[in-house]
Amino acid sequence: MDHFPLLTAIMLAPIIGALFLSFLPREADKIIKMVSALTMMVALGLVIYAYEMYDFNLGGMQFVESRAWIQDLGVSFILGVDGISLPMLLLTVLIGFSTVFASWNITKRSKEFFILLLILLAGVTGTFITQDLFIFLLFYEMVVIPIYIMVLIWGSSKRVSKEYSGMKLTIYLLLGSAFMLVGIIDLYLNAYPSGMRTFSMTALAQANQLGNLSEGFQIFTFFLLMIGFGSLLSMWPLHSWSPDGYAGAPTAVSMIHAGVLKKIGGYGLIRIGLLILPLGAKFWAPWIALLAVCNVLYAGFIALVQKDLKYVIGYSSVSHMGYVLIGFAALNGTGMNGAIGNMFAHGIMSALFFAMIGYVYEKTHTRYIPDLGGLAHQMPRVATGFMLAGMASLGLPGLIGFIPEFTIFVGAFREYPVYALLAISGIIFTALYILRVLANVLFGPRRTEFDGCADARGVELVPLIVLGSVLVVFGVFPQMLMGMVNSGVEPMVPFLTKLHAAPALLGGLFR
């Protein structure tokens, strides 16, 4: 290891922060929050540094660190990032940084809250930077448990109790990971003969070329992974945890969950599903595209009739994941670029949305849309955040959502014209429900009952400024995001072209 272990440092920063917090007295509320903010700031700084230092021309995995861990099982601690994982990493720390500030007003057991938050963030960071499936699973499980505790203690009960939503969330995620686990073990056992077995993603990705994985095996295993990652990504009909879960969760968890956790599903589908099991991916892609259309339209329509703000955004995120899925299912460079870009874009906008909903709820004590109205009078800054997030969500050009969506459409339209047409019609319904929310919550006559509600100020503005400026800057200069994503996708393009050319069953190219 001749260079500074950047990725380890990024991952360890929250953990060290959490450790440090555990030694602080629980009364030191301000210090606890500041320490959390500081650790996330360090992580953010390191990730931005990595983003800047990443060599586009070189491409591929960079900042690689590798240490042997459990050699008998072929597990090694490999970290590395490429153009696919680096945006996800940036997304994680951006949102993580914002969640600390969005949770600034938490007073109930704040020490435990921030410790759990930091552990959660370390877990998510780990899933994106590891290049070893075993470690991937390890980090993933590390994510699930803090979420459950956080929902139960700091959540809120509305249509469903927080116990129900926490349970639903956790069980879905664990169920997903169970399928994932079976798939991964299956893969592990079949990819290489005994003695050469390994969990390394790069090595497993070679197995297909070597002809170790038969097509039938790939189809079956990809199905397992599809269920696992699909339930994480809220693929229809495995989506129903998402709105309920967000509704019960505290702001920070909703932000992280909608913003980053769902993206582990998409990331996994690409990194593990597509790259390791290409024939399986090819077999299932049309089905994924169909389910994606269901996601877009079904969730879009449902979002139209929701009365709770969080449910609207919950269903909206399900709907947006449909775009990611159809971009993935196109299995071409353009669609893949769009899918990854859209994961980033959706992460930022949904986190901003949830942060703003958190403020509204905190100040007005209601999320019920008919009870709200005219908040732009009392809370112009929150209203600005809402507008930004909403407009990004309906794919307004100049904000982060447009270019990824457009890219997805270009990619998907080529492969599935009918599905793509249906999915694109989603932009109408997205606009319909977003505008409805904006009109009913922000606009309208001034309501005197909200006169006492103060606008976001001081540190509360940090999520708005951080996420909002990312929204605009990456929207106006999309190459900053798409260039990075493309550097990860471009090397896959010949692979994808070959995959398209391969006959449906038993392709000679892959033998």
């Binding site: 009909p237 670029n337 307004l396 606009a431 009109a439 922000l442 606009f443 994503v485 996708v489």
Partner: protein, 634 residues
């Protein structure tokens, strides 16, 4: 020198207002004077630059065939690369001139109109943003850039219609505007994607070359679909039937906005788009016919509604729809020249009329019903003069601007289709009628004592006067200076007036004026009696053919109904299965826990019994032999 600079720095034209938007939005919102000053200064510079561009186009002989294109890569990824840049040709130079001029005048006007409003700074920020995005749209080099700014002007329109966001009606109107145009954008986006898939590029210049070749090779099948889909965008944006419903409601915005966005500039973006991609449409005569009929129908249809409306801005709004229909009609019959000419004159006189209407409402404290006005010519002479010029211009009375452009359109239509020509003439007649109706009701007749009108402040008057001048000379000067040689598609069209057509329309306009005077000016015929007499017709027209109601019903019944059904499905079927599974697990646990008696000895007994059974079982099935049971040799 200057024209050289302006030509190559035309990208500054949209950029300057954008800078104004950012600066006002972040720093100057609280200061009305500074924000207005900055916005107007930036608009002024933009205007001067676009004058330079126009001059440059003329002296450097930049024609529609040889545009000046400059672009930089914006997004470049596998399978898709998008440029941003500027496309300067006479058409876009003309549009730059119109937009910067009207926008500058409207901003000056707004200083007086919006004085004392709480959101003064916000208003100017939005106006600047609008100017920036509209100008960006004009110089678009490819479909994506066009689409991006197309959406952004929609956003500005949304923001400005909903400017008085405390008014529920304004909220609704802004939502409606956004939604309706979004439906069009859906088609536009699909069309763009189709072109991208077929040609692999969306660049206007490249498509101009590629499309004729493609048509020769493969025919027009796919292109027809693409062209029709793209036309959905203009239908929504330019308020063509059946997506016109948002435009009248858009009058909830402040009047300067109505003048700038919903009369003079943004709504003509649809026309401009069709002109810009005329290389596509000119290949597809069937699509052209559809465009012509949509335009013609819209023109006539909107005019029939305008006749019975009572709100001054709504009348103007329907008039705008009607005139936009005219422009589409002109495009449909293949005359870019006529269409753009009318676009220009319309921008002048319609902006003028809107600003005059704003002045009236400003003087009457936001009263809008024309039947409650009357006799304002004494107290508001300048406004009266301005409105009169506008009405004369739109009615096609020479030598005002509208006469020349309308004549051009009628001429072009008459060469293609007789039915459309008749529709166009009837529309012209109705237009003159309802415009004079408005003029007579508002400014003539006895003064209403409850009104206490006052003339507009000087900034408003300034804009009125300037626009009046343009509305007077804006037709004649271009007519004389060979407008058609610059603004055209294909060969230059013919010059000069066709006196038969000109005379017909002129006579009809005068007749309409006389009829309007008879009913609304002199009071010889009671309008109420007429309304009673033709009550069905009157009601249908007054209620805008019940199209709003239809859409509302469709939205509620189908879209929301469908949403409700799906939500029910989600709650009780999809989630029901999930919860059912959970319940099943719970039940099973409930059954199994009965076995947990709490008697330790029972557990022990079962334990030992099980061990026994296992041992016996293992021995019988012999996976372990007796020998291994012994545990090895000792």
């Amino acid at each position: 020198m200057f024209n050289e600079y302006a030509l190559h720095h035309a990208w500054l034209i949209p950029l300057l207002p954008a800078i104004a938007f950012v600066v006002i939005g972040f720093f100057l919102r609280k200061s009305p004077v500074l924000s207005a000053f900055l916005a107007i200064t930036m608009s002024m510079v933009s205007f001067i630059l676009s004058l330079g561009v126009g001059y440059g186009v003329v002296v450097q002989h930049i024609t529609v065939e040889h545009p000046l294109i400059d672009k930089i890569p914006w997004v470049d990824i596998a399978g898709l690369s998008i440029n941003m840049g500027m496309y300067i040709d006479p058409v876009s130079a003309l549009m730059l001139f119109i937009v910067t001029l009207v926008s500058l005048l409207v901003q000056i006007y707004a200083v007086g109109y919006m004085k004392g409003d709480d959101g003064f700074g916000r208003f100017f920020a939005y106006l600047s943003l609008f100017a920036a995005t509209m100008l960006g749209l004009i110089i678009a080099v490819n479909f994506v850039q066009m689409f991006i700014f197309w959406e952004l002007v929609g956003l500005c329109s949304y923001l400005l219609i909903g400017y008085y966001f405390h008014k529920p009606s304004a909220c609704e109107a802004s939502k409606k505007a956004f939604m309706t145009t979004r439906i069009g954008d859906f088609g536009l986006l699909l069309g763009i994607l189709l072109l991208q898939i077929v040609f692999g590029t969306l660049d206007f210049a490249q498509l101009t070359i590629a499309i004729p070749e493609y048509v020769q090779q493969y025919g027009t099948g796919v292109l027809t679909v693409a062209a029709l889909l793209i036309f959905a965008g203009p239908i929504a944006k330019s308020g063509q039937f059946p997506l016109h419903v948002w435009l009248p409601d858009a009058m909830e915005g402040p009047t300067p906005v109505s003048a700038l966005i919903h009369a003079a500039t943004m709504v003509v973006a649809g026309v401009y788009l069709v002109v810009r991609v005329f290389f596509l449409y000119s290949m597809l005569p069937n699509v052209m016919l559809i465009i012509a009929w949509v335009g013609g129908f819209t023109a006539c249809f909107a005019a029939t509604i305008a006749i019975t409306q009572q709100d001054i801005k709504r009348i103007l709004a329907y008039s705008t729809i009607s005139q936009l229909g005219y422009m589409m009609l002109a495009l449909g019959v293949g005359s870019v020249t006529a269409s753009m000419f009318h676009l220009m004159t319309h921008a002048f006189f319609k902006a003028l009329m809107f600003l005059a209407a704003g002045s009236v409402m400003h003087g009457l404290h936001d009263k809008g019903n024309i039947f409650e006005m009357g006799g304002l010519r004494h107290k508001m002479p300048i406004t009266f003069a301005a409105m009169t010029i506008g009405v004369l211009a739109i009615s096609g009375i020479p030598p005002f601007a509208g006469f020349f452009s309308k004549d051009e359109i009628l001429l072009a239509v008459s060469e293609v289709s007789a039915p459309l020509y008749i529709i166009a003439v009837v529309t012209a007649f109705m237009t003159a009628f309802y415009m004079f109706r408005l003029l007579f009701l508002v400014f003539c007749g006895p003064e209403k004592p409850e009104n206490n009108p006052h003339e507009a402040p000087s900034t408003m008057k300034f804009s009125l006067i300037i626009l009046s001048i343009f509305a007077i000379i804006g037709g004649y000067i271009p007519h004389v200076y060979h407008f058609g040689e610059w603004i055209r598609f294909g060969d230059a069209s013919h010059e000069g007036l066709n006196w038969t057509i000109a005379a017909t329309s002129m006579v009809l306009s005068v007749l309409a004026m006389a009829l309007a005077w008879l009913i609304y000016g002199s009071g010889k015929v009671s309008p109420d009696r007429l309304a009673m007499r033709f009550s069905t017709l009157y009601n249908v027209s007054y209620h805008k053919y019940y199209i709003d109601e239809l859409y509302l019903w469709l939205n509620y019944t189908f879209v929301r109904g469908f949403g409700k059904i799906l939500y029910w499905l989600d709650l009780y079927i999809v989630d029901g299965i999930v919860n059912g599974l959970a319940k099943l697990t719970y039940r099973m646990g409930d059954e199994l826990r009965q076995w947990q008696t709490g008697y330790l000895q029972q557990y022990g007994l079962i334990l030992f019994g099980a061990i026994l059974i296992m041992v016996v079982w293992l021995v019988i099935t012999a996976p372990i032999s007796m020998a291994s049971l012994r545990g090895g040799a000792y």
